[in-house]
């Protein structure tokens, strides 16, 4: 989804006007880092922080509003929403990080080699990327999940399949410009192998873009997880994830808003944090500034 946005943000050009353009949001990484740290900590410490077992049902206390016995209320099976949110954070973040790790590795290998070697290999990779981008991501994700059967592993595979080409496309472009640099030329003159040049000279130059893209892509995967789990294709119930908690809220939307509102806010905060971090990283790592 965010292919265009991410590639643009990762490789946007620098002009004098751009420097002033960095708004207040860009100058405040503290908010993003703090928010992200809090979410990560909450996910890590979920077993300690959660007041209840996220799977424990208490049918006598179904749909209790927030503020009473349950801080954020209970769902239609009488499960504590706060505890489910904390454990759901583990699933949602784990899925996002693993999927982006996989897609960034595949995407960088393909993108860097395509940009470095050029020729038929480059043409082939770019045609595959074009083809892949023509299939609407959610449509492909739906089809693959149906064939593989939904679940945690499928979700990670599907999310990685939906993001690798963004890495490939951006890193190919950057490799093209690095390849022409004197540094790479001199390395070649002294007889460095292609492999060594790519790993030791090209890749380090791309680490900034890689960091920016990764954080933006984690934001996207958190949103995708929500959409796919909502369609019943992601994390399967009763295991909590932010996406399938949204699904839990559908039937009781008009009577118990809290079942739906809180998981959505959790998604919002997490993806806001990584998006802000990504924006800030892009500005901070831009060597032209």
């Amino acid at each position: 989804m965010s292919t265009a946005r991410a590639s643009r943000r990762a490789s946007s050009s620098s002009t004098p006007a751009r420097r002033q353009r960095r708004g207040r949001l860009g100058r405040e990484p503290a908010v993003a880092v703090g928010l992200l740290a809090a979410i990560l900590l909450a996910a890590l410490l979920a077993p300690l922080l959660a007041p209840y077992d996220p799977l424990a049902q208490d049918l006598a206390r179904r749909l209790e509003p927030p503020g009473g016995r349950y801080l954020l209320g209970s769902d239609s099976l009488g499960r504590d929403i706060l505890s489910r949110l904390l454990f759901g954070a583990r699933t949602s973040l784990l899925v996002g990080v693993l999927a982006v790790a996989a897609s960034s590795i595949v995407g960088s290998v393909l993108g860097v080699t395509a940009g470095y070697f050029g020729g038929w290999w480059d043409a082939l990779i770019m045609r595959v990327v074009d083809t892949w981008q023509a299939v609407p991501y959610l449509v492909l994700a739906l089809a693959i999940s149906v064939v593989l059967g939904p679940g945690l592993e499928t979700l990670i595979v599907v999310l990685a399949l939906g993001t690798w080409m963004t890495f490939a496309r951006v890193l190919r472009g950057e490799t093209l410009s690095v390849r022409a640099s004197n540094m790479v030329l001199s390395a070649r003159v002294v007889g460095a192998t292609d492999r060594r040049i790519m790993l030791r000279h090209v890749l380090p130059q791309l680490s900034g873009s890689l960091a920016v893209l990764s954080s933006l892509m984690i934001g996207s995967t958190i949103l995708f997880e929500a959409s796919l789990s909502f369609l019943g294709l992601g994390i399967q119930r009763p295991m909590p994830s932010w996406g399938n908690m949204l699904l839990d809220g559908v039937e009781v939307l008009d009577t118990a808003w809290w079942v739906t509102v809180f998981p959505g806010l959790a998604v919002l905060l997490a993806s806001l944090a990584v998006n802000m971090l990504g924006d800030w990283l892009r500005d901070a790592l831009d060597p032209r500034r």
């Binding site: 989804m1 353009r21 207040r24 949103l223 019943g232 008009d254």
Partner: protein
């Protein structure tokens, strides 16, 4: 070769590539028979079926046969409805196109003014507000937006229907869900583009010769900032399409995305294959349209 002929050829190549993906779906789990038959089918029965369906022949042979049938519009029978899969999906295409174009319209109507406003009042409160809105728009989960819209506009205020397309107004809420993310992207893009253009020399010249600011903004600046916007729309089409699946599922909207989501439970692979192929073809055709708009709008492309 002219630019458009090049794009046309490229589009055809992409569609061919998509056919490989769609064909590959059947083989994703190794043995397609396991997807096609109910669980607990005896092995002998499976073997017979495999032979009948030609699944024991070499893959390239099977692909060519698949492609031959697909070109004729034959994706097999829907497992659930026992009817040809493609017509079932095609029947729902107009509703989905209506939704996708409404979502695009929403993105343009919200994104362009906000982006312009942000650039014009750069650094001021409208700018900050627009940037905040864009950041929010790109961080909200589509299903959640949909549910909140139902809660507010259908359940509480009773302004708009919460499901179906009995009245044309049924498209409003789904279109917002599908168009929100592209709208936010458009705000960012147009803002950056306008700021870049506004610092160009010809804008300074236009101002220096005393043109009214309105003419400078809309005639000189927007026209030039609009070109990247068109590219952006081309890239976002697939995403718009994907999000419309979620929107259709939430609002029980009678489009092809909803049909596909309903087919998940039955694992109706032929129907889903027809859906993937059709969605990709629509996206390819739409980007060709964007490409030709480009030729029309930007003489540099035409003459290059």
């Amino acid at each position: 070769m002219s630019y458009l002929a090049q794009r046309l050829l490229h589009g055809a190549g992409v569609v061919l590539g998509v056919s490989v993906i769609v064909f590959g779906l059947t083989w994703l789990r190794g043995d397609p028979t396991s997807v096609l038959v109910p669980l607990n089918t005896p092995p002998a029965e499976m073997e017979r079926l495999r032979h009948d369906l030609g699944l024991d022949r070499p893959l390239p042979v099977q692909y060519v046969e698949f492609l031959g049938r697909a070109i004729k519009g034959d994706f097999g029978l829907s497992l659930r409805q026992r009817q040809p899969a493609l017509p079932l999906v095609l029947e729902r295409l107009p509703a989905t196109l209506f939704l996708v174009s409404s979502a695009l319209l929403f993105a343009l109507v919200v994104g362009i003014p906000l982006g312009m406003l942000a650039a014009t009042f750069h650094g001021g409160p409208p700018d900050l507000l627009a940037r905040l809105a864009a950041l929010l728009g790109q961080s909200l989960a589509a299903p959640w937006v949909g549910l909140m819209l139902i809660l507010i506009f259908a359940v509480r205020l009773r302004w708009l229907p919460s499901s179906g397309l009995d009245q044309p107004t049924g498209v409003v809420l789904p279109a917002i869900v599908a168009g929100l993310y592209p709208a936010a992207g458009l705000v960012r893009l147009l803002r950056t583009g306008m700021l870049e253009v506004l610092s160009a020399d010809y804008i300074r010249a236009a101002r220096a010769k005393g043109l009214p600011e309105r003419v400078v903004l809309f005639k000189h600046a927007l026209r030039n900032a609009a070109l990247p916007t068109l590219t952006f729309i081309g890239v976002q089409l697939g995403f718009l399409f994907g999000n419309s699946v979620v929107a259709e599922a939430i609002f029980a909207y009678p489009g092809m995305g909803r049909l596909a989501v309903d087919a998940i439970g039955a694992r109706d692979l032929p129907l889903i294959q027809a859906f993937v192929a059709l969605a990709a073809i629509v996206v390819v055709l739409a980007s060709l349209l964007v490409d030709s708009l480009y030729v029309w709008l930007d003489p540099r492309v035409r003459l290059a």
